[in-house]
Symmetry: C2
Subunit: 200 residues, 2 copies
């Protein structure tokens, strides 16, 4: 049994997959153990046999949610070559977040940050690291573009990363609460202009 996953490892993964969307939608405090048994079809005993407590499931679920988004974005980025086009992937993806199943409960970073910032240090820390990772990878895309001569030499990568993330997260919040993507579209149009303005 070297290569294949053990039963426990498979179950653990199954629990994470099934409960991750629940945590993203209802939040940590709003999700009960009963919600987890419902989402998985398993019993409490099985869940507590694979996880120490609710915290551990929630932390694993956050990683899963974040990785799902990250992998989707990464695939789109690797499908393009030019740095400007790569940056344009973000508005392109987030403008249709209401129809992407794994993004329908909103951005995991946004949801987790606003709930956990004052209440749950471990989750807060995870969200903070995920945010830092995201911003660093945007900065690196911009630096790459400057090296390749595709992006203006005087561009401030950190500034652009901060503004890009702010506009995306702020407009997702708005779209979710009013339950339509009208203003999100406007914000993503604006963000695309900012990005196209970086062109060398």
């Amino acid at each position: 049994m070297s290569i294949e996953l053990s039963k426990a490892e498979r179950t653990r993964q199954y629990i994470i997959e099934k409960t991750a969307p629940v945590f993203n939608e209802k939040g940590y405090a709003g999700t009960s153990i009963h919600d987890l048994t419902e989402a998985t079809g398993l019993t409490k005993g099985s869940i507590y046999g694979n996880f120490e407590n609710k915290d551990e499931v929630a932390l694993a679920a956050f990683d899963y949610n974040f990785n799902t988004v990250t992998n989707y974005i990464k695939a789109q980025i690797l499908a393009t070559e030019n740095s400007i086009e790569r940056l344009l992937v973000y508005p392109k993806v987030y403008r249709k977040f209401l129809i992407l199943p794994f993004l329908q409960p909103g951005c995991p970073i946004l949801n987790t940050s606003t709930e956990a910032d004052d209440t749950h240090p471990k989750l807060r820390e995870k969200a903070a690291k995920a945010l830092a990772f995201w911003k660093t990878s945007i900065e690196n895309q911009i630096k790459r573009g400057m090296v390749r001569g595709e992006i203006k030499k005087n561009t401030n990568p950190t500034l652009i990363a901060i503004i890009l993330v702010s506009i995306i997260e702020g407009s997702i919040m708005q779209a979710k609460v009013v339950q339509n993507a009208k203003d999100l579209k406007v914000a993503m149009d604006y963000l695309e202009k900012i990005i196209l303005d970086l062109k060398a």
Copy 2:
């Protein structure tokens, strides 16, 4: 007893004032009735004598939190005359939100929206209306500036309102989760430039 408030009305107000920060910090699901008795020093009986249920306290608390921020902003705005200066009040206020006591748990609209969008229709509705009110008043400030010849004629008030709100909410989320205002400062500097760029 015509003019003065009845005991019940005063107690009701007192409960709202004391519990509003708790709801803003811990969220609806994360706040228990025990939290409310702790924050007020009152008993369950007293709270349920003045409110039908937890929902009613939470909804009143949201209004209180939103009005607190709104009144503070309004006072700053009325202290200025020029439309550009009035718009600059927003970055000026939010860049120091970590030291304004009533803003330390974050923006009530942001906190309530991200928690309630998928779970609590009444709270979601309140947050949506508060957001609409905010954006409308920004739009009106811009329109006023155009009439007064202080803001460029070709300015799109709706677009500026959407971007202003997005940048503020998105950067507040970031500042809260990483627990420092470094990037918030950068975002507010950028927002100030956008506003100054509207000058006729």
